[in-house]
Symmetry: C2
Subunit: 346 residues, 2 copies
Amino acid sequence: MANNKNYHVAIVGVTGAVGQKMLKMLEEIDFPVEKLYPLASKRSAGKTITFKGEEIKIIEATPDAFEGVEIALFSAGGSISKELAPEAVKRGAVVIDNTSAFRMDEEVPLVVPEVNKEDIKTHKGIIANPNCSTIQMVVALDPIRKKYGLNRVIVSTYQSVSGSGNDAVEELKGQSRAMLDGEKAEANILPVKSEPNHYPIAFNALPQIDVFEDNHYTFEEMKMINETKKIMHDSTIKVAATCVRLPFFYSHAESVYIELDRDDISIEDLQNALRNHPGLVLEDDISNQIYPTPLSAEGKTDVFVGRVRKDLDVPNGFHFWVVSDNLLKGAAWNSVQIAQALIQQD
Amino acid sequence: MANNKNYHVAIVGVTGAVGQKMLKMLEEIDFPVEKLYPLASKRSAGKTITFKGEEIKIIEATPDAFEGVEIALFSAGGSISKELAPEAVKRGAVVIDNTSAFRMDEEVPLVVPEVNKEDIKTHKGIIANPNCSTIQMVVALDPIRKKYGLNRVIVSTYQSVSGSGNDAVEELKGQSRAMLDGEKAEANILPVKSEPNHYPIAFNALPQIDVFEDNHYTFEEMKMINETKKIMHDSTIKVAATCVRLPFFYSHAESVYIELDRDDISIEDLQNALRNHPGLVLEDDISNQIYPTPLSAEGKTDVFVGRVRKDLDVPNGFHFWVVSDNLLKGAAWNSVQIAQALIQQD
């Protein structure tokens, strides 16, 4: 691919929560699109989407649909990626995959452009976009790690329902209305659609995101643990995660505890390390009650950090609070950033 | 006070979220009440409450209102406790105070009956009820500490709005309805009524509970840190807390990380340590998606623990999830339990 060139770009899962945001991000940064291929399931084929004012028909995502595609952004679930990403690559496309299908594949770079943009160069057709909760955390951790060394992370998440897709957004709306009217909340989607039990998310908190693994962690928690180490190219960093689904629509928040390699760092030092990085905004002014929240971060592409504190017992320990829009930096925006970096490197 | 005797019991703040639950708890366990004194602000005086089927007039909480009172349950805010608890004691009452007014006073025992019931004996008129988020955590920590030793706790909380009183419950309802109807959410109460800025809690998360201290922690976070050490009589335990207000009505949840004195403990060992304790219920069966949630704990007096996991890097590290009804075990029920223990010890 060469510069000043326009590209044939496919979005797989274009009707989904993330697919819709991918469209919007491509529009907003005026990505050089020669032709857009909106792909989705058979059910959505024939409907239309609007891109840069133009109505385009949705095509069923089949192997042949990738003929001519140069960049394919996938966000239609892991099984679709496993089936169709190799078909897209076979036809000459570079795949940027927002599912967990290839993230831990040693041949596949796992990229957050602010952290490890250079890994894009090693791709063999597929570049993986990390899990939403991982992305926002590593954007905050990276400048700290580079400046002061990082040997430990313990995170508890506060994740919005949109991470489970549009169905979960509708479920939260419906359950909220029902409960406010004194009616029973019907649960069919959360915590995990494919699991036997469903619990109300409205006015509740569910300590399960994705299925359980044998070690009693959920797959979401293991994603945060494994992906953080892979993105940072450091398997020695200790990472632990507890992931919790909460009744808000957009943005994930995270309560993060870290231990640095140095024990002579002040709150101000850490705040300074978090300032003036692309994609990262320090919102930490407690005297004016300034800190990020899911609602304040909604619709923005940056990662926001606040509530920076020094641990009171452990001299190299710090606590902070990270918030970002899970559909944007956590998914669509990060994928589009990878696409940008890809065509710039070329 | 002697056994088989009935008592003159005052509830100060009887119209509040906790006061109402204190009434209910006294009724439910058939506490030996000879006469009930429902006390509240001038504004509520003259209204009535119902206790054991009887309508009783609310009296304004003044020093003289405590004449004849033997046990006074306070839950009307710290400044009321500071003013009136000494007046109640002067008139012969034992005060059980659910505010932060006396908790860190060296002369005042801070009691969670399952953990340090024997401290009640040292009282000099006032016994303090710990902060809601502290109580449920120490009930879970205590059996672990006794069996395996405990040297570190890092907690991130998921706290319901009822911890800020009935006004906050109504605010969450109103904002939720408004936002579901596409209207703007008006914020007047949370995160802290007396602070200049108010943010919507509906479909949001606020990383501020109570005011900020000079060390950048909130007062709520410092309560968890200091009270845990005091209740456990161990100032060497490292405790760190991040406290977050969330859009649910009742129960607090907590993501807790601990380090034991021993590094040869299995998940099963820890689960067993948490079983068969009064007031503590292990709900941890991930193969059937069994774990506690705010909605499942609502209205119950127990503390529920689930999601027990061993840290993957640190051999003496464990993670778990604790949920309890903040108005019951976190406030009213713990106060009534203290009253029960008090008359039994006598």
